[in-house]
């Protein structure tokens, strides 16, 4: 019921209009205007150097715009003068939290151009490492969600349990954050002894972690009142703005590239669910990522059980020259849909690589979704959209 309803008497309506008029006169006389607030680029809340220019009216946002580019490292230019192994090293650093996942679409594109198929064992290990990097990435998101809201404990629990996953990746590949493990035709090396057993233990610990976070953070009434109904993105808007990953699934779109796309990787050999949520608010996005972490642990468990034996590298020449052509491959990365469009002219390195990163499209919705929200909600909406600056700016 608004003040201009018919149920109210004339007198009340007239007094309301008079009050509005007085207010307007005050606004003109006092010349109050909104305050322009710069959130970032140096700010604890943004995941890196993102600048959001917000025009506030009191505590409400009237207009907001993200200004990215503070971390642009020129990846697409860098790849023009490097060979394929060197490019693999570089692109680890785009989404630095789930870094193995960055290598996979590029290598798949190069293999497509070469017409080479990695042996099944390599595809399975690739999938396992892919899901491990998804777990590493999203468990940090779950901890970080708490910090953006003031709950300082979940982030320590997240780092504690993420260490196990990073140690696993390190014992297999040699690097915790930048594995640099994928090669055209397979993987660099096989797994060390005892890795399968250890991974199963770690997956149990991560399921416990997911339960703890669910009790500590998601079950918390304060958290729910901060996240439910905030930053609602309807289905059509999400599709139009090109969101992907958990953001899209939270708006009710049942779309997961692991299931819907033909891929040489081993996802079809495991039994897992895709989660969607009808609400499209911040809580939905966070909840879906929590469930996806659990599903990822189940995928890893199943794939470990059924891993085929064999070589991890196909027969490829020592010096790899990819034949001429163009290929586009995209995968369901932890942040969303990441794809590489590789143009090759038959050289040692690609001629041109176009990187479609998930976060760049995910933050395009920021001006739309931040209209009319309060300042604290800016932080929670950005936290739930989940972007990594390396992914936005490349």
């Amino acid at each position: 019921m608004t003040m201009l309803d018919d149920k109210l008497g004339d007198r009340q309506r007239l007094s309301y209009i008079a009050a509005q008029a007085a207010d307007a006169r005050l606004n003109v006389e006092l010349e109050t205007e909104g305050m322009t607030l710069n959130i970032g680029p140096q700010h604890p809340a943004t995941h890196g150097t993102l600048r959001i220019i917000a025009r506030l009216d009191g505590e409400q946002v009237v207009w907001a715009e993200p200004s990215a580019g503070y971390m642009h490292r020129g990846y697409e230019k860098l790849t023009e003068v490097r060979t394929y192994p060197q490019v693999t090293t570089l692109i680890n650093r785009i989404d630095w939290l789930g870094s193995f996942a960055n290598e996979v679409p590029f290598i798949l594109a190069a293999e497509k151009l070469m017409g080479v198929e990695a042996p099944p064992r390599a595809q399975w290990i690739r999938t396992i490492l892919f899901e491990l990097s998804r777990i590493a990435n999203v468990s940090l998101f779950l901890g970080d969600l708490g910090v953006q809201m003031g709950a300082v404990t979940p982030v320590f629990l997240a780092f504690r349990d993420r260490e196990y996953v990073l140690n696993l990746i390190e014992s297999a590949t040699g690097g915790r954050f930048h594995p640099n493990f994928d090669r055209i035709g397979g993987l660099k090396d096989d797994l060390p002894a005892g890795w399968v057993q250890e991974t199963k233990q770690v997956m149990k610990k991560l399921r416990n972690f997911c339960d703890e976070i669910e009790t500590l953070l998601f079950g918390n009434e304060i958290f729910q009142s901060r996240m439910r109904g905030i930053g609602v993105i309807p289905r059509e808007v999400a599709l139009q703005y090109g969101l992907s990953g958990a953001n899209l699934r939270a708006s009710g779109v049942d779309w997961d590239l692991r299931r819907d796309q033909e891929s040489p990787l081993a996802w079809k050999h495991a039994d897992w669910k895709v989660f969607t949520h009808p609400d499209g608010d911040s809580f939905a996005r966070s909840w879906i990522r929590l469930q996806e972490t659990r599903e990822a642990t189940k995928i890893v468990d199943q794939l470990l059980d059924g891993m085929p034996a064999g070589p991890v590298m196909a027969k490829v020449p020592k010096i790899i020259k990819v034949p001429e052509g163009e290929a586009w491959v995209s995968t369901e990365n932890p942040l969303g849909e990441m794809g590489y469009y590789v143009v090759s002219r038959g050289d040692l390195g690609p001629f041109r690589v176009k990187i479609r990163s998930a976060s760049f499209n995910n933050i395009s919705i920021v001006p739309w979704v931040l209209r009319g929200v309060y300042v604290p909600d800016i932080i929670t909406i950005l936290a739930s959209l989940y972007f990594i600056l390396g992914d936005i700016d490349r």
């Binding site: 090293t89 064992r121 390190e170 690097g175 930048h178 060390p192 002894a193 009790t215 953070l217 079950g219």
Partner: protein, 162 residues
């Protein structure tokens, strides 16, 4: 604000974590006093086996950062057998890796056809001056002592090496 059990269960999680830390110890390691050993394959520092290196320049060319500096000259070495010809060998003058630039990607180690470069999990070599991060061939040869044996592979792996 209707149901409050969620709030109390959250308190229970932090309390039980506190009890667990007090009774079973924390998940952290007090670093300078206690050091955890990194896994065998950890990429800590690159070690050089000088005798194997023929200065073919493959590592230097494949480094994404171009941080390996090699200078060599040709020498005549005595023949292997009696009555043979003297062979031409490459003698290393300079083999520097600049760890200020190194990305620890491992392409050089992988690409070397003569097994002259190895990974070692040593990581405590930070220096106060950045120029000291340029390790010359003597220092790189010293790292060879810390290179571990390659770990055994998991069941189902192919036994033959690439």
């Amino acid at each position: 604000m209707a149901k409050v059990p969620g709030l109390f269960k959250g308190l229970g999680v932090t309390f039980s974590t506190m009890v667990r830390t007090l009774t079973k110890g924390s998940n952290t390691v007090q670093y300078p006093h206690v050091k955890e050993a990194p896994p065998i394959r950890a990429r800590g520092v690159i070690a050089l086996h000088q005798d194997n290196c023929t200065s073919c320049m493959l590592c230097s060319r494949s480094c994404p950062d171009w941080c390996i500096y090699i200078e060599a000259h040709k020498e005549l070495a005595p023949p292997r057998r009696e009555g043979g010809k003297p062979r031409q060998v490459n003698k290393l003058d300079r083999f520097d890796i600049d760890y200020a630039l190194c990305m620890y990607c491992g392409i050089c180690v992988e690409v070397c056809p003569f097994d002259a470069l190895f990974w070692s999990p040593e990581y405590e070599y930070s220096e106060p001056r950045i120029t000291d991060l340029l390790h010359d061939k003597t220092k790189l040869s010293e790292w060879m002592e810390t290179v571990p044996e390659a770990p055994e592979l998991e069941a189902g792996a192919d036994k033959k090496k690439k």
